[in-house]
Chain length 308, copies 2
C-alpha cells in the first residue's frame, strides 16, 4: 500500500510544479521528496511525472492518481479529527439504552446535552427487560445503559441517581389515607402487577419477599406506566418508580415508610470511554427531573464508578 507520505508528496508536487518547491511546502528536503515519488512510481509501475528543466509536470497517470491522493489525505486527516472531536464531545455518536420507565428521566438530560453538544449524534434504545439492556451492552449495540440496580457484576456501573418507589392508588383508597405507607400494609392488597418480561416484575417479587409481605396480584401489564393508570382506574394499587407516574396522574401517590428507593446506574461494559464518561457526569450533575414534583435524589458524592 502506498504510504500517505508519498501521496502527500505527489499532491505537493502537483500543486507547486516542482519537487524542490514541494519539499519546501512539506518542510522536508528535496531528495526525500524525490525518493518518495520514486517509490510511488515503482509501486504503480508507471511514471507519475515528467522531469523537465524547469520543474516537473504530471503525466496522465499522475493526474489519475492525484484526485485519489487528495481524497486519501483528506480522509486520514478527517479520521483523526473525528476521533479527537468524539473525545472532546464535539462529535461522534453515543448510543444510549435505558429502561422504558426511565425515558422520562433521561429525556431532559439528553435535551440539555444536545443543546450543549449539538454535534454528537445520540441514539436511544429502550427496553422493559433488564436482560435485553444487558445484551445491548454485551453485544456492543449501546455504549451506555441507564437502568435500575442491581446489575450483573461483569459490568461497570456508575451510580447516577436514586429513584423513589411509590404506591399509587385510586383517590380515596384506604391505603392512601396516610401520607406515608408502611410496606407491611400491602399484605393481601389487590396489586396491579407487571408481566414477567417487564424487569420490575421479578424485582418487585424479590422486594416483597424480602419484606415478608404478600400483595394479591389482580392483573399484570408489561407497560410500566400503565400500572398506575390501571390502579387509579380502580383495579387496586400499584407499586412503581415515581418516574412511571405521569404528570397529571388522576390518582393518589404515596411514599412508603420508610422511604423506598432504588439506585439508577449507568452501565458500561468496562471503564467508560471519554464520551460516555462525560455523559454520565452530565447525568449526575444535571439532576434528574421527575414528574409530579417528587424529586429523584441525586446519588451521594461518593457513589463513583465501580466494578461490583
Amino acid at each position: 500500500m502506498a504510504s500517505l507520505r508519498a501521496l502527500e508528496c505527489l499532491v505537493a508536487v502537483a500543486d507547486s510544479g516542482s519537487i524542490t518547491q514541494a519539499a519546501r511546502l512539506l518542510h522536508s528536503s528535496q531528495p526525500a521528496v524525490s525518493h518518495q515519488l520514486a517509490t510511488l512510481e515503482r509501486e504503480t509501475g508507471t511514471t507519475l511525472l515528467r522531469r523537465e528543466p524547469r520543474g516537473v509536470r504530471l503525466t496522465p497517470a499522475g493526474r489519475a492518481a492525484l484526485a485519489d491522493a487528495r481524497r486519501a489525505i483528506a480522509a486520514a486527516a478527517s479520521a483523526v479529527r473525528s476521533a479527537r472531536a468524539a473525545g472532546e464531545a464535539t462529535g461522534g455518536s453515543l448510543r444510549l439504552a435505558c429502561a422504558q420507565s426511565l425515558v422520562s428521566v433521561l429525556a431532559p438530560v439528553i435535551r440539555e446535552w444536545h443543546r450543549r453538544h449539538p454535534e454528537v449524534a445520540i441514539t436511544l434504545r429502550e427496553s422493559t427487560s433488564p436482560d435485553e439492556l444487558h445484551g445491548f451492552i454485551d453485544s456492543d449495540e449501546a455504549d451506555l445503559a441507564l437502568m435500575p440496580a442491581p446489575v450483573p457484576g461483569r459490568f461497570t456501573t456508575t451510580a447516577v441517581a436514586e429513584e423513589e418507589i411509590v404506591l399509587t392508588a385510586p383517590t380515596g383508597h384506604p391505603l392512601a389515607a396516610r401520607p406515608a405507607v408502611p410496606l407491611e400494609d400491602l399484605e393481601g392488597a389487590p396489586l396491579v402487577h407487571f408481566a414477567p418480561e417487564n424487569g420490575l416484575s421479578a424485582w418487585l417479587d424479590r422486594s416483597f419477599a424480602r419484606a415478608g409481605v404478600r400483595p394479591e396480584p389482580v392483573m399484570r401489564t408489561a407497560v410500566t406506566t400503565a400500572a398506575p393508570q390501571l390502579a387509579a382506574a380502580g383495579l387496586g394499587i400499584a407499586v412503581c418508580p415515581v418516574s412511571a407516574v405521569s404528570d397529571g396522574f388522576p390518582g393518589a401517590v404515596r411514599s412508603f415508610s420508610p422511604r423506598w428507593v432504588r439506585q439508577l446506574v449507568a452501565v458500561t461494559s468496562a471503564e467508560p470511554d471519554p464520551l460516555a464518561a462525560r455523559f454520565i457526569r452530565n447525568l449526575r450533575k444535571h439532576g434528574v427531573h421527575v414528574p409530579r414534583g417528587v424529586r429523584t435524589q441525586l446519588a451521594a458524592d461518593n457513589s463513583t464508578s465501580a466494578k461490583t
Copy 2:
C-alpha cells in the same frame, strides 16, 4: 498526520474484534498492531478502543474515526490503481490537441482507440494556430498535439504520418488539365490563400518562396477546409493538405509533381509518458484515413521519437 498503517490497524481491529486477529489479517505481529493503535490514540488524544478480556471493542471515538479510516485506505489503494491503470491504458485521461485540419485524420484513430480502451477519457482541443498548439503543450493543457512539422526544437516530436499537399481547382480549370502539376505552374495563378492566424498561411508562403514561385492571392480565409470550397466555387485555385478536402468535393484535386508532402508529427513536451506513447503507436500503426481515397502515407519505420 496519522499513518495509513495505523488506520489499517484500526480497520482490521474493528473488523476482527481483536488485536491478535487483526495482526493475523495484516500479516503482522500482535505487538506491532498494538503499537500502531497506541500511536493513533496518542495522536487523537482519546482512547479508540476498550481493551476487554475477550478482545477489544471500539469506543465512540474509534467508531467516529473508522469510517474515515476506511475511506482513506480505499482512496490510497484507488490512487495506485488509477495510476497503474493509466500506465496500462485501462484508465486515466488523455488530453489531445490537433491542427483543425487534422481532426478528420485523428477522428478514426480516436474512434478505434476508444473502442479498445473505453476507460481512457479523451479530450480533444483544436486550433488553427501552431503557436496556440505549442502553447497547449507548454502550459500543460494537453498531453499530446498532432500537427504538421516543423515544430520548435524545444519539443519532442514523433513522426506519425505524411500528408499530401494538393492543388484544388474548379472542374475544368486549365491547371487541372494535367494529372500532376509542377509547382512552378502556379506562378501568377489566382490563389485562395489563408489568413495569417491560420498556420498554413506562413507555411505556404515559405514553401512558395523556397520554390521561387509567386501565386496571386485573391482572398484569404482562416478556415482550412473553406479554401478548396472557395476555389471550386470559381475564385481560383487553392493549395492545402488533402485532409482538408472534404468527401464529395465538387472540384478538381491534383497532386503536385513531384509529390508534395508534409510530415505530421505527434508533439509532446518531453519523452512521451506511457499513455501518450501508446496513443502515438496507435497513430502510426492504425494508419491514417484521408477522404477521397488519397491515402496519407505512413511514416517510414525509422521515424522514431526524436528531440530535434
